[in-house]
Symmetry: C2
Subunit: 210 residues, 2 copies
């Protein structure tokens, strides 16, 4: 296991060098299955694809369903099917990068495999990890799955429109998240209704242009 | 990896022998984080703990929150914290079994780590895997995470009370599940409202008494 992680770290450093030399940012999106990674990418494409040159690496255990959902935005997409594998690694990112024209990109979004545990352990060469969690999963995720939230550069709480009918306790969530990572910015939004997405887009644009 | 799986399979056979010799059934509950494994256990405890002698093995990456939620039912519980590990293995089950009085049990429920990918690969010595999925995760889970649904002895679709406001397409879900596993029984229910839980309890009692 140590060997695997060491090799992954070395390749992540290489990916980071390649992207940094071209001024491209990379954001590693991690969440449980169904928390809304693809939905958030749809909102990002709709709101920002006119002003920011973006590409997506889609990681999935099986099928191309998420990639299909993004096709209409006419951005470069590379699909990685892990064939049962529970996370992306930096080697698969290195290979995926060869499919893009790196001279014409500002940012690459990586949609990791839907899994709140394993992807948190694997550096892909990203600038930061974006942790997504949805209100319908319950308010206890930061404290029960602390690795990801400790490492995240930002947290998005999705499905705020379902907060009340899910019995989600916002104060518990915020207080637990603060205990795990008191520095991380939190964005509460609903990809379905659009509520809260503008504030996140403003922050995202800033973080991409840095 | 093959070595790890081989050793896990051997120990799972040992666990299966131990339980089978005492007429104890074991059910391995697997789902995404927040789909409702603990909530379903609460319903099971409330409805069946008077007539069936049950115990729970709680698998969690961190914290004892789920075990705490079940404490009020006065059943034997063993907590396994994986310390970042993404699934339970048969060795940890073998160790946990030593904490129970195996002469006074009909069934052991194992609540696996919240993860739709890795736990599907590890036989724990269970009689069957119970796959849980909730409507709020979206209708595409069986086709996107097929390993678990292919292996499952039963599927529970939880949070039916949130089906409409989640935009969940029931026909898509059922048709995808049928493509992945046409034999598996499906129970649609809501742990919150109780809707559909009686039919599942009847089936569960039968499957335990077999």
């Amino acid at each position: 296991m140590k060997n695997v992680l060491d090799r992954n770290r070395d390749m992540a450093a290489r990916v980071r060098d390649i992207l940094s030399a071209r001024g491209i940012r990379m954001i590693n999106m991690i969440s449980s299955p169904g928390a809304g990674k693809t939905s958030l990418l749809e909102v990002i494409c709709e709101k920002l694809s006119g002003e920011i040159r973006m590409a997506v690496i889609e990681g999935d255990v099986a099928t191309d369903r998420d990639a299909q959902r993004l096709k209409k935005y006419d951005i470069p997409i590379v699909l990685i099917n892990t064939g049962g594998g529970c996370h992306l690694d930096s080697n698969s990112i290195d290979i995926a990068l060869r499919e893009f024209d790196l001279h014409s990109l500002d940012v690459i979004f990586v949609e990791n495999v839907g899994n709140l545990v394993c992807p948190a352990h694997f550096d892909l060469g990203e600038n930061f990890k974006l942790a997504l969690v949805s209100t319908t999963e319950g308010d206890d995720k930061p404290i029960k799955y602390p690795m990801l939230f400790r490492e995240a550069g930002a947290v998005v709480l999705n499905k705020t429109d379902l907060m009340d009918c899910s019995g989600f306790n916002r104060q518990t969530f915020i207080s637990d998240l603060d205990n795990v990572n008191s520095q991380v910015p939190l964005f509460e939004l609903s990809c379905r209704t659009g509520e809260g997405t503008d504030a996140f887009m403003e922050w995202l644009k800033l973080s991409i242009s840095k």
